[in-house]
């Protein structure tokens, strides 16, 4: 299947800063791709390169198979929703939506109908005659969305679409955006630095760091099989320990845990350094030692954080390493407090081996 957008080894520098560094990325038809990464990693720049608002130093950008690397923004069949929404302050909501259509030569009744459709899609018909200054944050976001959707683009680029909304509205809007996307059959590229937002919305997630794309995968795969230490740390909470491959075949020594574990995965030669990662919710915490066969360590609760559905414990081991553990709260669940001696255990298969 031909990708809607194909980014091929694209780089972009601003003076000494390389904002986007050799990025290769495909956006498939109808998919929602999330660009996730820390502040300043180049997410906005990548989006602007696709929209044509920045010129790539190197590489190619194809839209629907056509080379658009040097095409002007107005010639590209993608639309961008800006973080600031960028509504035209001197035009009503309806005129904002009509603007893009007029550029395509849509006129008269057809124009009216398409403006109506776009406004109806985001439930903004009633506010069509308002000026942008008279709208709330959420309403501005909808107006900006309608303005892009009216053009029926091949792909919609959204730069932190929820950043200006409060938490409650944000969750509702995530669902509405996804429902709208499925109904209209448009590919979305959503920039976010919120991992849970990426998980909630995206079919695939691209994790970026310092101008590079580190990994592109479905949220579940990214969470369970991160490709590197950096991805693992960025995508959800995780414990990561340095380790070396042990002398006995199939084992790994983890000095922080004072533990040698047998790992059911292909390992490099003995003595090679690597990292071992473990999600905090895969660890069982108890007062009594764990049954045989599981990996287990003991330690003291350093800190306990109650989070409603779960509790997060920080457990200090005899080596001084701190392990993060998440336990479900519920009927009959044991709770612990600072200073308690506890045993931690997990199944060897829960460990993920990462490059050092």
């Amino acid at each position: 299947m031909q990708p809607v957008i194909a980014v091929e080894s694209v780089s972009k520098s601003f003076g000494a800063v390389t904002a986007v560094n050799g990025v290769t990325l495909d956006v498939r038809p109808n998919e929602c791709l999330a660009l996730l990464g820390p502040s300043g990693c180049g997410k906005t720049t990548l989006l602007r390169l696709i929209a044509g608002l920045e010129a790539a130093d190197r590489g190619r950008i194809l839209i629907d198979g056509a080379d658009m690397t040097h095409a002007a923004p107005y010639a590209r069949p993608v639309n961008m929703m800006f973080q600031s929404y960028a509504l035209f302050p001197h035009m009503s909501v309806a005129d904002n939506v009509a603007f893009g259509l007029k550029q395509d030569g849509v006129k008269g009744d057809a124009l009216k109908a398409r403006v109506q459709d776009a406004l109806a899609a985001v439930e903004m018909e009633a506010l069509a005659q308002r000026m942008p200054a008279q709208l709330s944050g959420g309403q501005k976001q909808r107006a900006a969305l309608a303005r892009c959707l009216a053009k029926r683009p091949r792909a919609l680029l959204l730069d932190e679409p929820m950043a200006a909304l409060d938490k409650h509205l944000r969750e509702r809007t995530q669902f509405e955006l996804m429902a709208l996307r499925k109904r209209l059959g448009i590919a979305f590229v959503v920039v976010t630095h919120d991992q849970s937002e990426a998980m909630a919305m995206a079919d695939r997630v691209a994790v970026m760091d310092a101008g590079h794309v580190l990994q592109v995968a479905a949220p579940r795969e990214m969470y369970e099989r991160p490709a590197s230490r950096r991805v693992a740390q960025f995508f959800g909470d995780i414990n990561v320990w340095s380790a070396v491959v042990g002398l006995a075949p199939g084992t790994v020594d983890i000095p922080d845990l004072r533990l040698a574990v047998r790992i059911p995965a292909a390992l490099p030669s003995a003595g090679s350094p690597l990292s071992v990662a473990l999600r905090p919710e895969r660890i069982a915490i108890a007062r009594d030692p764990a049954p045989m066969g599981d990996c287990s360590v003991s330690g003291t609760i350093e800190d306990a954080v109650y989070l409603g559905m779960t509790c997060t414990y920080f457990v200090t081991l005899s080596s001084g390493a701190v392990v993060r553990v998440t336990a479900q709260n519920g009927e009959g669940a044991q709770t612990f407090s600072r200073g308690d001696a506890v045993h931690l255990s997990w199944r060897p298969a829960a460990l993920t081996v990462l490059a050092a």
């Binding site: 929209a51 044509g52 608002l53 002007a72 923004p73 107005y74 590209r76 639309n79 961008m80 800006f82 973080q83 600031s84 929404y85 960028a86 509504l87 035209f88 302050p89 001197h90 603007f99 893009g100 550029q103 395509d104 942008p132 200054a133 709208l135 501005k140 303005r147 892009c148 053009k151």
Partner: protein, 269 residues
Amino acid sequence: MRRPSGTTIALIAGLAFLYVPLAVVIGYSFNASKLVTVWTGFSFTWYGALLADEQILNAARNSLIVAFTSATLAAVLGTMAGYAFARFGRFRGRNLLAGSIAAPLVMPDVMTGLSLLLLFVALEQTFAWLPGRGLITIIIAHAGFAMAYVTVIVRARLIGMERDIEEAAADLGAKPMTVFFGITLPMIRPAVMAGWLLSFVLSLDDLVIASFVSGPQSTTLPMVVFSSIRLGVSPKINALAAILIIVTLVLLALAAWMSRGALRMRPAK
């Protein structure tokens, strides 16, 4: 009652220093007496006399034509220059352009006037352009220096304006010209209009440069005022000055109010 503070007194003194001379002129323009400094009674006589004076009416017409045309030229050119400075990044000759636009702001009017006169004379001798000089040469001269003010105002407005609104327009399919006339210009209109008004006032009040570059048939109001003063102060001139002062103040206030609006009109957040 509160005693006025030191700053209030300083403010009143400052305002008085600036405006009492103007108030005196305006006051005496309603003086019935032919002698400028003796008050005999209130009258509109001199305003009537103004309207009957062919020379003054002609100068007023000249001044308005020059001010209107040069302000419009300055607004167009200044907007273009301001846009280039604010939006084109670092282009070749940027510093040269910035310097030549700012030059009239710092150069003494006498120098500007003299150099323009020499230029116009040279043009006339070499190409037979603008023979004898006239309103056209004054318009060119005024547009040239007023453009500097428009550039500064428009540039400041554009720099304070988020670029993403123009980028959104381009992204929605608008070509650069459509973006400029459909989005940028409406958003900076208050700044452009403030610049136009300021240019209009500057042109209306200019004596020095206009004197250098005008021809025999192109006397403007300030030139009439100045030449009549040399023959002795006439109450008619007081009336003329009063009208000029009022028009200037009103236009300046309008310009200030508009550029204030221009600064306030931020893009929707």
